[in-house]
Each structure stands twice: as structure tokens, then as C-alpha cells.
Amino acid sequence: MPSANRAPFSKVAEKNARGPLIALTDIRKSYFNGDLETPVLHGVNVTIKHGEFVAIMGQSGSGKSTLMNILGCLDTPTKGSYILNGREVEKLSDNELAQVRNETIGFVFQGFNLLKRMPLVDNVALPLLYAGVSMAEARKRAALKLAQTGLGDFLKRLPNQISGGQQQRVAISRALVCEPALILADEPTGNLDTTTSVEIMNLFTRLNEEQGMSILIVTHEPDVAKYAKRLVRLKDGYVTYDGPVADAHL
């Protein structure tokens, strides 16, 4: 049914009319160890529109995670401007950054990063609690999200009582629960086998295509990158390729 598919895309177009989701201008990042400066990003310029599915690739140490942390407002660039959803990130206070991470961004990590002592439903509900939603309502919405990723039967289980692939699906549910504008996933399939990776990537594809969710993933594996529409390749802190996945030599 094309109408079911078109609805989110008309919304995406509406959002893009107001400006891109991400605009990075000359982003530089150096780590400092005492007086020793280690430059990692040397001026990254990338613009990402709403509804895009982008893969970031590059050798180990090329600065992918560094870039992701900046995009996720977990870290600040040494120089450059970052506009996320129309807001200048460098001008935001600590509290506003926390709010942006809560409302605008959903994180998916390589190591899942679920809280060990909490049942899955509470793990997924946690971002809602930080958003000020009541416990009962948060649990209800969390259970719904878990059901959508096929984990409706595991609400009361602890993270160590389910498989890695399932844990990553919980993490994705948690990333989605606050209805963010953007999913940031740093090597989401890094700890998973091929079959499970495929499941996870299919989930991302569905989110992107059916709901128009903007997704950024970092990966080493060309097979995983192929699920994305656009590829950004980093080398030693420089962008060496930025274009459709299909045109890239993976």
C-alpha cells in the first residue's frame, strides 16, 4: 500500500523544508594529554537530511566514534559548528544537552549498554522517566516498543537472560521509545553473528523506510553498510568519500 508508506515521507519532506537534520561545518577534534595534542578530526563537513540512512566507515582509529560522540552531544568539538535539528549545539547548556540526548537522539551501542539490574521493560522505560513521564505510563509505552521489536514476552527478564541479538533489539527499543529524530548506532552489529546482524539491519531498514527515521550507523563491515543509502568514509580524520552506497567501492 503506497499510501501507508508515503505518509511518513511527506512528513520528512516537510521537516527538510525547514532545514537539514545535521549540519557539520569544519568540525575539528583534538584530544589533549597534558600539553600533547592529538588531532583526530581535521575539519569534517557533512550535512544530513531528515529521513536519511547513512553509514560511516573507515579504518580503526580514523575518528568514527569520535564523530559519533560529537553528533550524539556526548562530546564537544574542539572547533567548528554543529547544528542539530536547527539548534546550535555549542550554545546549549549541560541541561539542554541532556534534554537533546533524551528527546532528539536515540543511541545504540556496540556493547548494548543495557543496565544489568533492571528488567528489560524498565531499561526501555528509563529515557521516558528522564523525560518526566510517570512510571506507569513509561512502562506501558516501553512494553509497546518491546512488543514491536518482537520482545513482548520478555518484559520482566533481566538483560543477561536473553541473547545478544535480543539485547540489541532491546537497546533499539530504548533508543526509539522517546520518538527521537535520529538514531545513532556505533557498530551496532559488532558483537553479533551474521544472522543476527541481518535481523538488526532489517529492523533499521524497516524503521527508515516505514517510519522515515533518520539513522546513522558506524560499521566496519561492507555487508552492513550496504543496508544504508548513503556512505561517509573517514580516513585519518578526513572525509574521503560522501555519496550513495551504491556508487562506493565497498
Binding site: N69, G72, L74, D75, D94, N95, A98, Q99, R101, N102, E103, F107, F109, N113, L115, R117, M118, L126, P127, L129, Y130, A131, G132, S134, M135, R174, C178
Partner: protein
């Protein structure tokens, strides 16, 4: 996050590591228990002393024969019988005194039929009861009429009544003191011990006139053993001490360079000293308790610091999910407070059990007051805030990336 969610998280964190939480709590339990129990003990000692002081009468001084200066050669105070009824009468004329009571006393074997009891017999006038502010439980006190008629009547303390008469009513019964019969007309309300620990209820009071003529004879005519005198007001106590000293020196014809042959002792100053000791004791006990509470608090801080380090990654995850610094601060602060308040509750309970045990096993009556419990509770919450704040602030101050990268 609202308050209950934060508390729930705190309980969840504690239940993850029960042994550690329990041991940390133990420090607070002991600390709070010690503070509450020690303060209760101090308070009960103070109350006990105050109760004893109350039985002394207010603004009272005692005038004893003999000098208080001891140079080793002189016989003990009270050895020389230098006080007489006329001394007492002269003192009573001084305007600073509201009551003056001359007293003689001596222990006697007292009998009620086959029952025997050794008690101190006091020969006193009705002023004595006025000074002490003593009343009877049963029957009545004797007055001027009995004094004038040299009646053989007696008012007994509750210890004497219990030992001679058991459960039966002593009023109207007759006891024999040195084979002379005395009719019991009153039983005094129970007083308990005096400051020196003596049982004030183990006493028999008879009119001074009767005692002097029939029981306690002396070589010197008109002599009495000591005088109890009550100043008209607290402000007049010093003046009364001075005036009575002057009067007695004149009456006893003591020359300028000679020492007094009597001693005026102001009981209020003794009471003050005793109260001072009680206060010092309470402070000391409180200090001991506080130190253990402080140690418990440091234990909390230590464990919270360890916990923050251990859970650095968790903090990073929470921050990535939208936790504000305030949320993280509150989370760890709440954990510390929950441990302290739970520990405080158990500590109060233990202190209560301790007080019950002490009251059972010792003559002391230790009661834990509601205010003590409230103070202990708020204090333990305060300890939690104080010692939990630094670790919590450390957690809240973490940078999200660095916390997330922590292994």
C-alpha cells in the same frame, strides 16, 4: 524522575549488593543506636539527679556543727555539739529565712510486734516538712500541737512502712522505738534516693520535742545536731549564708581571728554541681555516640565513592539516555540517604531494645523520647546528605563520553 522513582532506583541499587549495603548500614545503625541510647542514658541520669534535687527542697542550706576546714587534728565535722535550739530560734528571726528546722537524728531498732527494722529516727518540727516540701501518701503530718504536747506520734517513710507492715495499713498502728510506743499518723510519699544515694524513705519522723526528751538525749542542754534552713528566695541564698554565719559567730562569741565552729552549706550549689556533672555526662555520652555516627558516615562516603567508580559506565549510559546532572546527583544522594535512614530506623529500634534491657537489668530507668527519635532520624538523613553529597557530585560531574568509555 520523581521522588518515588528515584527511591525505587536507590532500593534497587542496594538490593544488588545486599552484603555491602548491609555492612555500610551497620556503621550507621551502630552510630545512630549509640547516639540515641547514650543521650537517653544521659537524660535519665539528669532526670534522676533532678528528682533527687527536688526532694531536697529549694533554696535550702544546712548548718552543721564543727568547722569545715580540715587540718587533720580536729575531730570530724559535727563532732562537737555546738548548735542549740536557741541558735535555731535566733536564725528563725532573720528575715532572709522563711523556715528554719532544728533536727536530731539517730538510728534505732524499730519493732512492730515480731517485725524488726533498723531505721533512722529524725526528731523534727513541722517546718522540716515545709522546707522539704514533703507530703503524706496516707494519714497526715504532725504539727505544732504534737510538738507542744510532746506526743508519741510518728510519720514514716515508705520503706519503713513496707518493712514493718507489709501490705497492711500502718495508720493508727503502734511501733516501738526503744520499747516506747509511737502511733503512726502518716506515711510519706515515696522520695527515692538522695544525691548521696541514701534511701530517703528509710526514715521515721517524730516531733523534735519528743525525740529530745525521750529518745535522743544529749549532755549539753538544748543541743541539736543540725539545722536545715530555707532562704526566702533564690536571690537571698548568698545573703542568708552570710547573715547566718555572722549571727552564729556572734552568738558563739568567736573572735575575729578564730575559725567558725559550725559550717553553713548551701545545698543549691551542691545541686548545681550535680546538674553540671549530669550535663557533662550527657555531653560526653553524646560525643561518644556522635563519633561512632561520624565513623559510620565516613563508611557511607567510602562505599558511595566506590559505588560511583564501579558504576561509572552506568552513569554514562544514563547521561546518554537523557539524565541531567541533577538526576545523577539525586540518584546517588538518595542512595546514601536511604541507607542512612534505614540504618537510622534500625539503630533507633536497637537503642529502644537496649534501653529496655538497661531498665530491666539496672536500677536506671532509661526511656527513649520521641524527640530523641526524631532528632536521630533527621540526623541520620543529614549524615546521608553530608557524606553522600561529595560522591554524588563526583558522579554528576562525570563527562558523558568519558563515563561511557569507562570499563
Amino acid at each position: 524522575m520523581n521522588f518515588w522513582q528515584v527511591c525505587l532506583e536507590a532500593f534497587r541499587a542496594m538490593s544488588m549488593n545486599r552484603l555491602r549495603a548491609g555492612l555500610t548500614m551497620l556503621g550507621i545503625i551502630i552510630g545512630v543506636g549509640a547516639v540515641v541510647l547514650m543521650l537517653a542514658i544521659g537524660e535519665s541520669v539528669r532526670e534522676d539527679i533532678n528528682r533527687r534535687i527536688d526532694t531536697m527542697g529549694s533554696n535550702v542550706m544546712v548548718i552543721l556543727p564543727g568547722s569545715s576546714t580540715s587540718n587533720g587534728v580536729r575531730a570530724g565535722r559535727g563532732a562537737a555539739q555546738t548548735l542549740t535550739l536557741s541558735d535555731s530560734a535566733a536564725l528563725a528571726q532573720l528575715p532572709v529565712f522563711s523556715n528554719v528546722a532544728p533536727i536530731v537524728q539517730q538510728p534505732f531498732q524499730v519493732a512492730n510486734g515480731a517485725n524488726n527494722w533498723n531505721a533512722t529516727v529524725y526528731g523534727v518540727g513541722p517546718e522540716y516538712f515545709e522546707i522539704k516540701d514533703w507530703t503524706t501518701d496516707k494519714g497526715s503530718l504532725f504539727g505544732d500541737v504534737e510538738m507542744r504536747s510532746v506526743s508519741r506520734v510518728a510519720v514514716v517513710g515508705s520503706t519503713v512502712a513496707a518493712n514493718l507492715f507489709g501490705e497492711s495499713d500502718p495508720i493508727g498502728q503502734t511501733i516501738r522505738i526503744r520499747s516506747r510506743p509511737f502511733e503512726i499518723i502518716g506515711v510519706l510519699a515515696t522520695k527515692g534516693s538522695d544525691l548521696g544515694g541514701g534511701d530517703q524513705d528509710d526514715a521515721i519522723f517524730i516531733p523534735l520535742s519528743t525525740a529530745r526528751q525521750q529518745l535522743i538525749r544529749s549532755w549539753t542542754p538544748g543541743s541539736i545536731q543540725y539545722i536545715l534552713a530555707q532562704a526566702a528566695s533564690a536571690e537571698q541564698v548568698q545573703e542568708a549564708v552570710y547573715d547566718s554565719t555572722e549571727l552564729l559567730r556572734t552568738r558563739h562569741r568567736i573572735r575575729e581571728e578564730q575559725e567558725d565552729d559550725f559550717t553553713v552549706r548551701d545545698l543549691a550549689s551542691i545541686a548545681e554541681a550535680a546538674q553540671g556533672i549530669a550535663t557533662a555526662l550527657t555531653l560526653l555520652l553524646g560525643a561518644i555516640g556522635s563519633i561512632s555516627l561520624l565513623v559510620g558516615g565516613i563508611g557511607i562516603m567510602n562505599i558511595m565513592l566506590v559505588s560511583v567508580t564501579e558504576r561509572t559506565r552506568e552513569i554514562g549510559i544514563r547521561m546518554a539516555l537523557g539524565a541531567k546532572r541533577r538526576d545523577v546527583l539525586l540518584q546517588f544522594l538518595t542512595e546514601a540517604i536511604v541507607i542512612c535512614v534505614c540504618g537510622g530506623a534500625i539503630g533507633v529500634l536497637l537503642a529502644y531494645l537496649g534501653s529496655v534491657a538497661i531498665s530491666k537489668l539496672s536500677p536506671m530507668e532509661v526511656g527513649i523520647s520521641t524527640s530523641g527519635i526524631i532528632i536521630a532520624f533527621s540526623f541520620s538523613a543529614l549524615i546521608g546528605i553530608f557524606f553522600g553529597f561529595y560522591p554524588a557530585r563526583r558522579a554528576a560531574g562525570l563527562k558523558p563520553v568519558e563515563a561511557l568509555r569507562y570499563e
